[in-house]
Amino acid sequence: MTDTHRVATGALPVGTPAPDFTLGSAPGQTISLHDYRGRPVILAFYPADWSPVCGDQLTLYNEVLEEFARYGAQLLGVSVDGVWCHAEFAQRRNLHFPLLSDFEPKGEVSRRYGAYREGEGVSERALFVLDSDGIIRWSYVSPLSVNPGADGILQALEALAPQSTAT
């Protein structure tokens, strides 16, 4: 029989209310999606901490935070790595945004967003842009090995609130 559980369900579509969640963000701390209601949120699911430096997606986003901030948007990274792993990774890379641990039950939140790879047990390289009401307004699933860049996110943020575009 076909291994049906490995068939990708696809990322949650545009227009869907983003499922709320509470995930560990640091040893002893959690972050909930609803904490950010009232401002745009960028959810960046990614396979694993510690991928190569210069071409790394999160390193790039870390440099682009200032551009995201022009739209009032909060970036949240999500992977199945544990909080201690995230803490070390964030410190080494000087990351200035939260990394959330979809660790227990493993991949639960990624699954709810249609952004989990069952066979490999990691999150997809999937991006979601939520508006200030928590509705998904843009999503993109990148091939696992391809860094999708930040241009799609910025276009989505611009489309959300053109009037708030800074100069």
């Binding site: 071409g55 790039l60 870390n62 551009e67 000087n94 860094n147 999708p148 860049g149």
Partner: protein, 185 residues
């Protein structure tokens, strides 16, 4: 529906503001978004030179700044120093010096290089300290982000992001593929 996206396109066309090597009417324009402290860009530097040497006047090369400031603490200042040298007509000389001396990019070295290149060192120092070219470097960076730069170096050939390998042979082949058939090195 999940959006599918093609590779990036240069959103800021090559123009007056750019630092250009090669003729303005060259059939192929190679744009690099790079970081003077990035080791991959350091490896790309002699390769780009070799490609320029082989393709000659059919190639125009443009360098734009994409400093990854959190990963490379000297990258932003180095980029600003290249612009400061550019303001005195010596962008490419400083560009070369920075990539050849990637291991020595502290401010005192940058000022030393300005002296070596015969620049007005006091002006160079004042502009560096005054962060005069920070907005210009940021403008390069932003244009890169909007064009789909996803790491350094990222190349664009005739405005389209080049995702292939950037060893000398592959780059030369990609460039010649855009030049009139029959013209080969």
């Amino acid at each position: 529906m999940t959006e599918r996206r093609a590779g990036g396109h240069l959103t800021l066309p090559v123009g007056e503001r750019d630092h250009v090597r090669g003729p303005s009417n060259a059939p192929v324009t190679l744009v690099e978004y790079g970081d003077y402290e990035c080791p991959h860009c350091g490896r790309a530097y002699p390769i780009v030179k070799a490609v320029q040497g082989r393709v000659g006047n059919e190639l125009r090369f443009v360098f734009r700044n994409f400093p990854l400031r959190e990963s490379h603490p000297h990258a932003q200042r180095a980029a600003e120093s290249a612009e400061a040298a550019g303001a005195q007509g010596r962008f490419w000389e400083m560009h070369d010096r920075l990539f050849e001396r990637q291991f020595a990019l502290d401010d005192e070295y940058l000022i030393e290089y300005a002296g070596d290149l015969g620049l007005d060192v006091e002006r160079f120092r004042a502009e560096l300290v005054g962060r005069v070219y920070e907005p210009r470097v940021r403008e390069d960076f932003r244009s890169g982000v909007r064009s789909g730069v996803n790491g350094t170096p990222t190349f664009f050939i005739n405005g389209v992001r080049y995702d292939g390998a950037w060893d000398e042979e592959t780059l030369v082949a990609a460039i010649y593929a855009l030049i009139t058939p029959g013209k080969r090195a």
